[in-house]
Symmetry: C2
Subunit: 385 residues, 2 copies
């Protein structure tokens, strides 16, 4: 390989939550999930790959730090699945299957902020490797899934459905696109990054404990999720925002209910998260209509969904209710308001300052893509290794 291949992959946020594996090793989920892929302009992972006889050993750098591949089962699995595909495609003894691979990856958002960095990261790794080795026609979601479950959803843009599947080997557990980002371009996503100091249970550990101890989880998996998945896909196809928004809120709440039903309980929402939830319901009540909805992953940060036409008015109320001492440009990031001087429409009482770190406004985006901005200098590797 004479050149570096570099790609960019998006973050996705689930509206029907993935929580619980039916196979820990193959990363097969207990239930379907549905997600929206966010625009790479605001948040993305970027990965450069180079491979060849001149690379002395497999290495992965993440955000400037060397990752220990030997102890990272997920990284190893992605590497070996890619090498298996290379052999299937180019022959058991092809030289490419023997090459070592150098990976350099960066996120343009805080890794530990609970903003789905591993999904974007593994999607980007797999997509970049596939491009480097000419494997883009393969089932990439199924490989990305084995790095980090929800990564399979970041392989596509727009609206994505990860089907749990039934096969014990996972042959039918993969992601499909429901609709592209162009289907519903009015959709906006507002991320409220919450100040939080608590150590949380990782989602890998949390969902394992839920599978082992939550009596309610099986009912969610068997009864609630199948109905909701069908309903939200219908709502997406019909661009029915109210239905989409309600199912999203209910499923976020149910996911956190399952976490609480876990023994000992896993608690990911904090007081600020609950203040956001109450605010969203109050706002919709005041508007007389569901204008905005929330979802929370395994952390306190809120992801809000709203249509473009309602964004400015809502943002005015939001920054009134959650004030900050930061400058507006530091506090509100991402897509700029076209009409920023609206007055807060309902005049809710402001809460104490700086409950939020910052607010990021973004929209739907496409799947991963190749770019020219490389993180690896091939010449220095050829010279140094």
């Amino acid at each position: 390989m004479d050149k570096v291949v570099t790609c960019m992959a998006p973050v996705n946020i689930a509206t029907i939550k993935y929580w619980g594996k039916r196979d820990e090793h193959l990363i097969l989920p207990l239930n379907d999930s549905v997600s929206l892929t966010l625009d790479c302009d605001q948040m993305h992972s970027q990965t450069s790959v180079v491979a060849g006889p001149f690379v002395k050993k497999d290495t992965v750098m993440l955000n400037g730090h060397v990752m220990p591949i030997e102890t990272n089962e997920r990284l190893q699995r992605c590497f070996s699945l890619i090498r298996k595909l290379i052999k299937e495609k180019k022959g058991e003894n092809c030289p490419e299957a023997q090459w070592n691979i150098r990976v350099c990856s960066e996120n343009n958002f805080p890794t530990a902020a609970g903003l789905a960095s591993s999904a974007a990261g593994y999607a980007c790794l797999v997509y970049t490797l596939a491009n480097a080795f000419d494997l883009v026609t393969e089932d990439l979601p199924a490989i990305a899934r084995q790095g980090s479950g929800s990564a399979c959803r970041s392989i596509y843009g727009g609206f994505v459905h990860w089907k749990a599947g039934k096969d014990d080997l996972g042959s039918d557990s993969t992601a499909v696109q429901i609709a592209t980002e162009a289907h519903w371009p009015e959709m906006r996503i507002i991320i409220l990054v919450v100040n939080d100091s608590h150590k949380k249970t990782s989602s890998t550990v949390g969902m394992k404990k839920s599978v082992e101890t939550s009596e309610l989880l099986q009912y969610r998996v068997n009864k609630c999720v199948p109905e909701r998945t069908k309903d939200i896909i219908e709502a997406i196809i019909n661009k029915n925002f109210v239905k989409f928004a309600e199912i999203t809120m209910r499923d976020s709440n149910q996911f956190h209910a399952i976490c609480l039903d876990t023994y000992p309980p896993c608690v990911y929402l904090n007081g600020v998260s609950h203040e956001i939830i109450t605010f969203i319901h109050d706002y919709n009540d005041a508007a007389g209509h569901v204008k905005v909805s929330y979802t929370f992953d395994a952390g306190p940060n809120a992801f809000l969904f709203i249509l473009e036409k309602d964004l400015d008015l809502f943002m005015s109320e939001l920054i009134q209710v959650f004030p900050s001492d930061k400058s507006k440009s530091k506090y509100i990031r991402g897509i700029k308001s076209t009409n920023p001087d609206q007055v807060a429409p309902y005049g809710f009482e402001p809460k104490e300052k700086d409950l939020l770190k910052y607010i990021l406004v973004t929209k739907l985006g496409s799947g991963p893509k190749c770019i020219d901005n490389h993180l690896i200098d091939i010449d220095s590797i050829k010279n140094s290794d």
Copy 2:
């Protein structure tokens, strides 16, 4: 009636939670519940009743305030059920059934502190009326239930099982005693009264919303609660503390999970509640054994269960972890420690001061009883009315 009748009734705390009615009017629950009756020495309602031709109209005083009976369906129902029983027993035209009734009631603990005041209050009202009108052999739990559901459990001491029943008219929905307080005299209950300013959804409104919107509730009712009820009754009978404690914690968590699965969600636990939950699990982990368990009603206050032998050591750690600027006698109330100078055994980090208002230590107690300390002066009524 020539004399005032005065009774005292206890608070009870559920270990299998009552949440959801199958009949709003008759107050019939969707599921069985199990509770412990607390000692009247620490917490009780006290009620005096007088009735006779000299009482001009039905009146109810609660903690010094006149209650509007006309708009209080629950009070009306208790009065009319008692009058129905009087007629059944003494004849349709007996004078007693025509008498007006004066009630004066007081709690020796804050009514609004989320400490099950309505359960003790209605149990006390019904028990006192039954004593005043010679009806103590009747099914008093079924009448108390129609004042406030969980009041039926305060009619008995020790361990109590409220059977949901199946009859549409509620004939089989009543409380029975599992065991008296003498069966497990080592049981101690520690109440942690949490500082909280939030307005909460009342339990009546909250459970109605859960029945209407929580998909998980039906599964809890049909599958989880029947098994847990059977198991915890067995644990109580066998005095198996570890099993009792675990089921109690799991059911508290599941009840709050159902509240979160409600739409919009009902949130009763606050950050301090969650800190208590984490502390209890950490303490048990450090002890290598389940020494103490928690349960939370529709509010942030914790009710802890522990055996007498483990109380002193636990209390030492508890007040180290939840320190207070109050004097010890104001901060720790109720049953005094016999050996108070233990050192906190595990040396957990103290949290910020005054997360708790106060700590009340109590034990199991008996059901309602008649006392001589009247809240009504019969002579002044005869003279004034």
